[in-house]
Amino acid sequence: MIPELGHFALALAIAFAVAQAILPLWGAHRGDVRLMQAAPALALGQLIGLTASFACLVWVSVTDDFSVQNIAENSHTLKPLLYKITGAWGSHEGSILFWCLILSICGGAVALFGGPLPASLRARVIGVLGFTALGFELFTLIESNPFTRLWPPPLDGRDMNPLLQDPGLASHPPILYLGYVGFAIPFAFAVAALLEGRIDAAWGRWVRPWTLAAWCCLTAGIALGSWWSYYVLGWGGYWFWDPVENASLLPWLTGTALLHSAIVVEKREALKTWTVLLAIGTFALSLSGTFLVRSGILNSVHSFANDPARGVFILGLLALIIGGSLLIFAIRAPTLGNSGLFSAISREGALVLNNILLCSIAAVVLTGTLYPLFADLLLDMKISVGPPFFQATVLPLAAPVFGAMAVAPMLSWKRASLGPALVRLWWVALVALAVGMFASLGMKAVPALAMGAAAWMILGALAEIVERIRLFRVPLGNSVARLFALKLSTFGTTLGHAGLGVTVAGLAGMSMTVEQVLLVRPGETVQVAGYDWHLAGMSDAKGSNYNARVATIEVSQDGVPIATLSPERRAFTTQTMTTTEAKISTNFVRDLYAVLGEERDGAAVLRLHMNPLAPWIWLGALVMALGGLCSLADRRLRVAAPKRAASAEALSRP
């Protein structure tokens, strides 16, 4: 009966979504206060319905109800409990229900925290969110119902892909989805502003925290996914420029641009039209990213759950939402009005440069991702676009971003000159040069340049703080006092920019990875990358739903033991599938990474890596997300006092 309850709760949520999509928008159009005020309650109703529905799905999964098709296809009685719970969003049907749940959480968040918003704006935002949610909930109910029953029920399920049975993947989709779907809020704000025909600093102040929150989640989600592929897939790589990965990178790039252009709207009331377009574009990329991949139109090593038959519905839905919002944009954008003036060299100018470059990178990645599809359809050519393409195109466009990143925060608004800003960065440039030179001793040209750029970015970000606290120019105590008086959002910028620097350093280090595949007999010792790897022995182990072969490798350097690694090969009993469990020992400067391959006549095939600076890649992403959180924490203080902003805005309008 629980599946039917879930089904019913989903239908109930759709009923709420219908009302949510129509009543508030109509009310805002007619100026009917009662209809506008119904919006939050409707959004919360939808949220409750979907939460109940999803809870039912988790329950069905945990209790092994194989009469439900979705569970029979993706679960198994022997599957550990954690993966029974996470399996609820691991399958195609479950993941789309989960997607809808997060969208309704966004609606609920606007309903709960949007009290200080102007009534008509809030009603419109919630209405637009309701409209979007309605489409995807209908899709869930009609095309991919997770509660469909199966008769006769099988004795046991077909089990989940073993590669997905991993704690990293348990947390990766929810956080990534929060990021993807979180951009629905800036999108709804953008469409609502177009309907209102008005954008002002207050709008920017509202959009930015939501964008920041979504951006933090997306950053963390991408990093988690990349980390998962590093330690689970056992290929030693962390990013494959695969369509699924690109699909998450695209909204991240435009979302980062949006984050920066929203600052200009908020502080200077400029770039309004562009920011609105960017908000629409970012959500459009999130949507098409998720669903083009899920529908199987773009084929990828990562798409575990896809089904081409559902593509048409999704394409129609995407066309309706993206096309509709762009149409509204085309009609209403000219009413948004002109914006403030600024000189080319100014903070605004630098943020525009950031936007142009980030959007160019996004365009390049989009082209590379879609080209195989078009080449196949139009030219009848089967072409793959691999990492070399993306490296050749993205790096040259990213380089100026890295260069400008340290300088831009030093520029003043409206009009600035480059000279003084550069003078303040002389020591940063000197250190970056030294780091680059030092790196070039042991590295090839491009990674060495990247190391220099990383130093430039990290120190450049710190230089902003150093400037503000006037370190070494006033007594130290005075500087410390200034440090504590700084606003949290200043640290947000610093951490965000420094985090990217840390990631770039990690990428540069990782390109110097040493990797060897060797045949090793138990008792033998091999030398890889200056370490002695001693294969102490092979043994068997048993897990709840797999049998494993374990190699015990003792790593030492100059006779000093460093680590013991025990990579495994797991043979899963239910899916007749084998996975490799890589084992990693890290000291944050380098990773020792071991993978066990097959065994041949008593000898084990081992792949041994020494990955310099590898953990920095994900550490940097974490620092970036932390920076976002810092800004967010600061903003809440100011958003909590919107009355003053509102009255200031009332004064500024004639």
Partner: protein, 175 residues
């Protein structure tokens, strides 16, 4: 600075940004695009010797041989599309899902002797998976998808008794 000037600079900036992006894209496509080719098309379609391409097809049952290249483990197997087949050599660990009788895509270069030196072997994450590119190509060479997916690896291999030394069970092969 006047509004007109500012707009000019903005437009100029966009043109430079997107223009350089376009140039980069075209250059990269020319030098890095990887064609997907099945064995029977190598004679007519193979790119220049120094270019990487993707060779796709089914791994011929019983063709997998293991050998050592210096101290490194290597494999040799034949990739077939039903009409022609090519010998592929690869040094390294095969992906977990590599099976005889199943689809495979390899990335590498053609050697002068006509064999293929693979730098990468890609096997997808699903045992019943067939890359769409390959399904299309196989259709052209005569394999009909209406006949269903190709026989499962275990069955295919069971037909050849003397391959059992290579493969004790479907779960144990690969790397």
């Amino acid at each position: 600075m006047t509004r007109k000037n500012r707009r000019l600079i903005l437009v100029l900036g966009c043109v430079i940004g997107l223009g350089s992006a376009t140039v980069l894209v075209f250059q990269a496509f020319r030098s890095t695009g990887e064609l997907f080719i099945v064995p029977s098309k190598i004679a007519t379609n193979a790119p220049k010797a120094d270019r990487n391409f993707r060779l796709g097809g089914m791994v011929e049952a019983g063709s997998l041989q293991r050998f050592q290249d210096a101290n490194r483990p290597a494999v040799r197997f034949r990739v077939s599309d039903g009409v022609a087949s090519v010998s592929v050599e690869y040094v390294g660990i095969l992906p977990d899902l590599f099976r005889e009788g199943q689809g495979v895509v390899t990335l590498g270069k053609l050697r002068p002797d006509g064999s293929f030196a693979a730098q990468e072997v890609l096997a997808k994450h699903d045992e019943n998976y067939m890359p769409p590119d390959m399904a299309d190509e196989l259709k052209k060479t005569g394999w009909k998808p209406e006949q269903g997916s190709p026989p499962a690896a275990a069955l295919w291999n069971a037909a050849k008794a003397n391959t059992s030394s290579l493969q004790t069970s479907p779960g144990k092969i690969g790397g």
